[in-house]
Amino acid sequence: VPAPPAPLGCDDPESEAAAEIALSYINGHSHHGYKFALNRIEDIRMVPQGPNKDIVFLELDLLETKCPILSPTPLANCTVRTFAEHAVEGDCDVKLQKVDGTFSVLASKCHSHADSSEDILKVCPDCPVLTSLNNTEVLETVSAALNDYNSKTTGSYLRLLEIGRAKIQYHPGHIVATEFAVGATNCSAEEAKANVGVCQLLPEDQSNFGFCTAVMVKSPSQDLQVDCQMYGHQVPAPDIPLLSWPGVTYIHPGQDTS
């Protein structure tokens, strides 16, 4: 009786190929936060289903990158957040099928969570750590930053889509740093001053999303820095429904997606 094939190793080329398909699927179907990069293939199991057909179960350890999920930047160019920047880890279980050598994802279930603040402060006592996105100071900073940007822009009026990350430093100096996603509306900034209620996100075929970073220094002196980058209209990939934004959403430290 022919010996069964040796179990796949997690670093085998075939496992890496399956992980790449899985990661592309996960990032392509995520609607919030940031793109994730592969950190480790935790486990892989291949179950034969007949000639040239297998079911593959993958366990992946991912790490959050600095690229927002809506950014057109290719994943290969996205920097992984370092441990000291307060990394966010993703654990994903992915079920794929392999037919005639081609992998395709059947299902995925992921959970992401920020690394523990204690671990960061042990290694880097002065590193600011992530704070809740519903924190009052965070919400005030994002609101002030977006109002400041809209009051100065010559482009369209921007609406907040979601807050991605926030940190508050209390020493030295009291500083609130935030990152948030925005969408262009059908108003100019001038029109919005007259009646902001009519300003709606652009329809799917004209959508224009972007990303902002804002830093508010509260002490020793008041200062607000805002920087927004708009991506321009991206043609959505055919098999991925365009992101539907249910308004402002806040990512909690732990998030499940499937």
């Binding site: 997690c10 592969l38 950190n39 486990d43 790490l63 441990f83 880890e89 690394d115």
Partner: protein, 38 residues
């Protein structure tokens, strides 16, 4: 008559002779870490 041998002794005798410089293959999983371990 059966005599019970010490496990270490038995293991010593039963050990499969390995060629000199034999390095066991790395466990198949988990795989290598690409960035850092949290």
């Amino acid at each position: 008559s059966l005599t019970k041998r010490a496990v270490a002794e038995a293991a010593q005798h039963d050990k499969v002779p390995r060629p000199v410089g034999f390095v066991p293959p790395p466990p198949p999983c988990p795989g290598r870490i690409r960035h850092f371990d949290i």
